[in-house]
Symmetry: C2
Subunit: 493 residues, 2 copies
């Protein structure tokens, strides 16, 4: 056990969320920020194994929809980036590779800030006929690069982890159907596996990705009351197919620009939400499906009782083999530390279930089961251990979900008057549902005014796919005109 994690968390999550978060990132060995280049961090094994699970679930979900994996270079040609400029506008943040060895390069290249400017030039070469569509492609386990000024582990980096689908269709209807499927992927992975509640929004026009006709995003609330965006899907229309000349010959023998969507779940942000929403003052808490280690078995042995110790170790190893065989990620921790130190270590790391094996338990052919959420010792007969693990894993997940959902609901309020909105944002933060004049261009002035008068709150959008209906007589919370939409407002990361 490395020095840094022996002391445990010393800051209360309720009292200082930001400092607590930093401690968990470091002490649960999720990331190392001592790499020495700002915004570039090392994903340590424990953190990386959690993230790898998130990637695996996403890969399974999109491949079940027919997505094929590919891998594009890290480089982008300057000319390709220029074509994207008006749409995405990443240029001010782009890193440039300009030398090799001691020589200036003849033509510099950029590190990708996102995939469009790399992928779409090739798409213009790959497809010829409507027969070849739909094509759904994606890349996973990659990083992108943006020269951000302020950086924080899993929240904002100059290098951060990425996952992106890029889909090509003959019709807009198919593209719209894909947007529903992207929402299903978020439900499947973010809500079901990570146990993170969210609302799914259609962004107001002024807040969508510049190259998109519409942008859709699941947002959740962090413990400090700020909303965090967990993914985004863009209905790209034919904007990029026109910029990069991606055309296919239709049934009518004429060339048509293709319809495109892209979907990017925020790998880092999902990790940040996982840490922030589920963790407690002992450290991380991991939902069962995401935990690199689901069950840790700790022997409680005594140096003066050699016979009993041997027996305990034997039972522990057998139990580890048994549980591993039926598919659990399990470890028998027979290391040199004391049982207490091991409990603290694995609690800090968020392992969902712990099995304790002491002389009394082994004599009774039993063990003690401890849930990360409950901390109660539950006696379990060794013959019943598989059944009880299944039961308690489910209970732990339900407890996490219940707690997260309760917090989320408690912090999703309504306000019809600006004074109430302001008070809610100040007291509870979270989401506030309010009537708004327009989510189109003409509503932007109200959004700007809102932002100024609330220290930065933004219009997250309208609920998707079922937009809520405005009641007759409801007025825009900013300008007082007849409201056309019910929007959600929040302070943001």
């Amino acid at each position: 056990m490395a020095e840094e994690d022996t002391k445990g968390i010393t800051i209360s999550k309720d009292k200082d969320f930001s400092a607590w978060y930093s401690q968990v990132v470091q002490k649960a060995e999720l990331a190392d920020i001592r790499f020495g280049i700002q915004g570039f961090l090392v994903h340590r094994p424990w953190g990386f194994m959690i993230i790898r699970k998130i990637y695996e679930y996403l890969e399974q979900a999109v491949e079940a929809q027919g997505h094929l994996p590919f891998l594009f270079p890290i480089a982008v040609k300057e000319a390709d980036l220029q074509k994207e400029k008006e749409h995405a506008g990443f240029s001010p943040e782009v890193f440039w590779v300009e030398s090799a060895g001691s020589k200036k390069m003849e033509e510099r290249f950029a590190l990708r800030p996102t995939g469009e400017a790399q992928i779409y030039p090739l798409y213009s070469l790959w497809f010829r006929s409507h027969n070849e569509l739909p094509f759904k492609g994606y890349q996973s386990r990659i990083s992108v690069y943006r020269n951000e000024m302020t950086t924080r582990p899993f929240l904002r980096g100059r290098e951060f982890l990425f996952f992106e689908t890029h889909d090509v269709f003959n019709t807009h209807e198919e593209a719209l159907d894909q947007i529903q499927q992207d929402l299903a992927t978020c439900e499947n992975v973010i809500r079901e596996k990570l146990k993170i509640p969210f609302l799914y929004f259609k962004r107001p026009d002024w807040d969508r990705f510049k190259g998109a006709d519409a942008t859709y995003s699941p947002d959740t609330i962090m413990p400090d009351g700020k909303k965090i965006q967990l993914a985004s899907t863009h209905d790209l229309g034919t904007n990029f197919s026109k910029a990069y000349t991606i055309q296919v010959l239709g049934k009518d023998e004429k060339k048509h620009y293709v319809w495109q969507t892209c979907f990017g779940p925020g790998i880092w942000r999902s990790m940040a939400a996982l840490i922030g929403i589920h963790g407690d003052d002992q450290g991380l808490i991991l939902p069962f499906a995401i935990a690199p280690l689901q069950i840790v078995i700790v022997p409680v042995t005594f140096t003066d009782k050699k016979d009993v110790t041997e027996k305990i170790v034997k039972v522990g190893q057998k139990l580890e083999a048994q549980l591993s065989k039926v598919g659990y990620r399990v470890k028998f921790d027979n290391g040199p530390d004391t049982p207490g130190a091991k409990y603290n270590h694995w609690e800090l790391h968020g392992v969902p279930l712990r099995i304790e094996l002491g002389p009394k338990e082994v004599a009774r052919r039993a063990c003690s089961l401890v849930c990360r959420t409950e901390k109660k010792r539950i006696p379990v007969a060794l013959t019943a251990v598989e059944k009880d693990i299944k039961k308690h894993a489910k209970m732990l997940d339900e407890a996490l979900e219940k707690r997260a959902t309760a917090y989320f609901k408690h912090n999703t309020r309504s306000a019809d008057l600006f004074a109430d909105l302001k008070k809610l944002l100040h007291q509870h933060r979270g989401f506030v549902k309010s009537p708004f004049c327009s989510v189109h261009k003409e509503g932007e002035a109200c959004a700007d005014k809102l932002q100024k008068e609330t220290e930065g709150a933004v219009v997250c959008g309208t609920l998707y796919p079922q937009e809520e209906k405005v009641k007759s007589g409801q007025q825009c919370i900013m300008c007082g005109k007849a409201a056309k939409h019910l929007v959600y407002i929040a302070k943001t990361y």
Copy 2:
């Protein structure tokens, strides 16, 4: 089906291996070299899925040995790279990031040419006590960057795929044991899964990695007779732990420099060997364990027989579901192309087994099974299909292995006289086993002379772990002194 792959391979592998290789890479949709930046290529879905399988097998193999996955940034600090300079000597090839947006950066950083200079500074922070060792870490599915002058798909790139383990031990004995385990990983993945034969060498002193005390590598022979290195393991001794100050407190309460090894299977080179060694004039041939698609089911239907067609489609879909359920990667190809076009397409892509379903077969409750290696139609009852697939998958793998091993053995010769060596290298290329004065410093002059007088042949090394014994009286093939080693000589990629 995209335009480029409809025509099939037009070049004979025997007549022009290099042109054949380029065609297969392009037409089997493995990589796209039209990205527009030299040495940076796009891994297309088919190629990427093959490579992903290689990665998965490697990940399983090293994790079974206790390796933990992590992920380091793409960046390297200039100061850290300097420390490594004398060992690895990558500086002349390093790419530098020097600007962000329109501004020159205060401190430039390099794109990693390999992992040591990034990882070892962190290792110096992570370990304090001998209790924390051994530590085995690795990163997978990453790329590294070197400004190579000539580039070729999967053989040499400015960006190329990487996999690296970095292990830390208390003793040299443990490090030496790890080297045996790295060899086992090569056996497990390269020989067993990819069906690529190789010899495992200890490199001569002048050809080892500069920072290593010893380097070990599996080499194979490509169809053009040149040897290609498939992986390397370095016994780093305490060279890097001294350069980066990686020390732990021993049982004696004193600080000790740790012992290190690192292992890097060549992902691209394994892919190149897979393409080159198994492919034929119809295109790629994939061993069963590596194929993204193991079985393709092709319906043979006729537009004038609608009832029969419906029946065939029903049987095909059912068979696809059945085979998928028992774990095969299978596709029922009900696309618009003709059966003949589909046969060509999937043969070109190397799919091991094809099932044909026509009116006659379906009437008899049967199908035809065709192996990619044999091309004979084997009638199989639908009730026996799972058993026969298992049998023929095994036969295909054995056929690939047999052919590859026969070629490999045929091109591994011996010569005691320089004239014979020269003739063999000219006629057959491949490996030539010859007596050599020394694999240490004092043999380097003979190796230089050899290289000059044979248009570039090199000393691959001595066999490992069992070095062959020199017979009494054998003389160095270059200088005529008493030979101390039997070495293998080959022209190289």
